[in-house]
Symmetry: C2
């Protein structure tokens, strides 16, 4: 199966779009379009949030229709198996400390299908730090020491490494201290501590902030970085464990399929892919959802999992309420570029590096070994030198080689910024957005539940947050419908 | 509501048994005993494992009968609210890095009902380390440094703090290295490293091992300690976060009730408390469960959540299969004593201490402040000087005072070793048990699914592991019954 999404470049075949994905769904719908019944709930979007919501409601006996603009499940998270190796196009790393995703991994008994991303046992085994004026090589222990020390300085806002000001990172209630930190950008915070930072610490933490946020130092909220730090247990080692250490051996689309197949097996799920929603009309007793191809579907309740940056492209009637509308207009700032390279250099398996700020791809590391015996390098580009990797593949090739010389066999990527159903990568907010509008984004509007990793309480922006939100929405809708059914019966 | 469980002592009232619990269920059954229908599934045991299994199956539309020997939900985990303060009788601490329990906390939107157990802001703010020959006082930073250093030595079996030998702590497959570590006792491991340990480190890690395991150094598996360490992210700080930092503000029985009430609300749950199971007969087309009072109940499938140490007291026909029977005979080794004291000494809020090995209660710390303004001290006793705190309350009072002088207003505890439905506290295995019999304990036997935190893959022995196991059992039974229904339909 292939999806229309994604790009693959090889020296022989050049650049092509549309690559394999086990998350692609054919045929694209499981009912006769003219005869879709009125369902209990329409779920808009088949990312992890929508899949979780649909599955949980199907299991509870509700009739669900899942509408998705793409030809595949997974939303901003999917993997492409090329040459027997899964390239993760968005979302990769998971950890047993991430509650929602790990609960599902255990539930589907996939705990033996996890592997460790980095492998420092052989090869060059170095952290290569290229700044604009010189290149230095460190051991990975030295790299850890630089990052540990740098991040402690970054996050020690209270003499307790953030534990005092953000003791409960899942709380949606912002203390005045938290509001102040949310007004602060990463650049503001660095400016406060710059005298205490070594040059290497500064390079390391700036690159870390940019690869976490996909923004610029001047446009991302410092509080959200602190939120990741707190969720990780207030330590650099915790960050490594949670953010970049463990991944699915066989790619995460195989994981996403588990949710989808479980929902399908209940016989309660109707679905239509290639069915982008154009409008949602909630002015009658039933909500009407219209797709771009003119189909209309009706349901008692809607779960919209449309991401923040895409919300404005769907017409809601009544319109989005104040705070949510503002948040959707402001949007989030993550336009990370993620480029995979399969390279002949086996010794790069143990490479990590930054090339910052001068290079388009500013962070990279060895992330696996392909069946052909090649090394998989994953690299990231940021907004400080933003580029679209498909526009001139020679620029992309040059940016990879500027990290460290490599013998490129294959390049794989998805351009999230140009993706009409994403308009950016994982959620990362600018200053003030969350403390002003998180509650707005999470609120219900009449019969529509808005549910997305972008406004999860815990691992917002992660697969974990998507599942958290899908779980919440499914339970709310189920309780809501049960109440209305029992009221109807008692009348 | 009160339960028959638990003890409360006050200077005025002396020692009494039977204390308040919001998890007590009255009336004890919700159906006419003579007219219980044949159900899809009988769940034996209303701890977190049974509650999760029952809830998930009820949500999926199955008819479930929940049988429980006690008069309350929660099993080995429950809280007693006395004077407006919840005393946790078994199980206390939870963390967002524990996947299954945190997923439920988020699902029930209880993330704002968490508080931090220790509070070092005022009071004596000391770690008081009393060994048999002297008492020393340290700052909590010094305490952390001693424990961090000691535990790193304890767990650094591979030069990588255990990461190489136990990279995936959820795996049920034991490598030969893991089998060897499972043959090793804590005492064996300490003997290997004793030359490298300072005296303070040795005191600290011995007390830590005993409070984690409820056994003796000579009777507990070193691998299981390493398993806790790995789950905690291979660090002392991770251990603190996961094991003793965060707890429910209002006691965990309020959390357990959420599961129970959600199941009840489906109208698919029948239940009978005070209904200890005496036998399970699986020799016909339906399984018959008999309770001690002579009632018989029939179901298509059984989920037995009977703990390992209690399994032998139920008659199974056919009998328990080989490996499970052996494991049940061997049992686990945790006979921890947990004693709460409410004390007038406000300055002990920031106290932590050990009194080891000479005192019956060998670890204690300030764990909260009661509405009366008193300090809550939680203390633990081990097997090296095992005692039953209700047998001579003066011994208990003296053991508390030997930790540090305290003005005792109230003592609260549950004696898990004498509890016929527990026969010990949380699971902690002797050497060899898990590498030989974990798979046996997890296996299905005809129509009976055995499900308990004792043989969870992740946070075995924790609330988290109970939910993990209940989730697994519910999904298996549901899929199993769906298959048999669809076979029946197609025939």
């Amino acid at each position: 199966m292939t999806t229309k999404d994604g790009y693959l470049w090889t020296p022989d075949q050049g650049l092509n779009t549309g690559i394999p994905c086990v998350g692609a769904v054919r045929p694209s719908q499981n009912f006769d379009g003219a005869n879709c019944p009125v369902v209990d709930v329409i779920v808009i979007g088949a990312g992890y949030c929508g899949l979780t919501a649909a599955r949980d409601m199907c299991l509870a006996g509700l009739k669900v229709l899942l509408l998705e603009g793409r030809d595949r499940i997974g939303g901003r998270s999917w993997s492409s198996d090329i040459g027997g190796y899964p390239f993760e196009m968005g979302g990769t790393w998971i950890y047993w400390g991430q509650a929602n995703v790990w609960r599902e991994i255990m539930r589907y008994q996939m705990h033996d299908e996890i592997e460790i991303s980095q492998d420092f046992r052989e090869g060059i085994n170095q952290y290569v730090q290229a700044s604009s004026h010189k290149t230095q090589r460190f051991s990975h222990d030295e790299e850890s020491a630089i990052m540990d020390s740098g991040l402690r300085k970054l996050f020690n806002v209270d003499g307790q490494l953030g534990k005092r000001v953000l003791p409960f990172p899942h709380s949606a209630e912002f203390t005045s201290e938290a509001v102040a930190l949310d007004q602060m950008t990463a650049a503001d915070r660095i400016s406060d501590i710059e005298d205490s930072l070594t040059l290497n610490e500064r390079l390391g933490i700036e690159a870390w902030i940019l690869v976490c946020s996909g923004g610029t130092l001047e446009t991302v909220s410092f509080l959200e970085l602190l939120h990741w730090w707190a969720l990780s247990g207030y330590s650099y080692e915790g960050c490594v464990n949670h953010l970049a250490r463990y991944k699915f051996k066989h790619g995460q689309s195989a994981f996403a399929r588990k949710f989808f197949e479980e929902a399908v097996a209940t016989n309660n799920l109707s679905y239509a892919f290639n069915s982008a929603v154009s409008s949602v009309d909630d002015t009658g007793s039933l909500v009407t959802v219209k797709t771009r191809d003119g189909q209309r579907y009706k349901a008692k309740r809607i779960i919209s999992t449309v991401p923040l940056n895409v919300l404005s492209s769907v017409t809601f009637n009544p319109p989005l309420s104040g705070g949510r509308k503002t948040a959707a207009c402001v949007g989030h700032n993550n336009h990370i570029v993620k480029v995979h390279a399969e390279v002949g250099d086996r010794n790069l398996r143990s490479y990590t590096g930054i090339s910052y700020p001068q290079n388009e791809l500013f962070v990279a590391f060895g992330d696996g070994k392909t069946p052909a015996g090649n090394t998989h390098i994953v690299s990231f580009g940021g907004q400080h030198r933003h580029f679209h990797p498909e526009e001139d593949i020679q620029v992309t090739i040059k940016a990879l080689g500027s990290l460290i010389p490599m013998d490129i066999k294959k390049i794989v990527f998805h351009n999230w910024s140009k993706d009409e159903f994403a308009k950016g990568a994982w959620f990362f907010p600018g200053p003030g957005l969350l403390s002003k509008h998180l509650a707005d984004m999470r609120s219900k509007q009449r019969n529509i539940y808005f549910s997305n990793s972008d406004w999860a309480l815990g691992w917002r922006s992660f697969i974990d947050g998507a599942i958290e939100e899908g779980t919440r929405a499914a339970l709310f809708v189920r309780n809501d419908l049960m109440k209305s059914y029992s009221n109807a019966t008692s009348v």
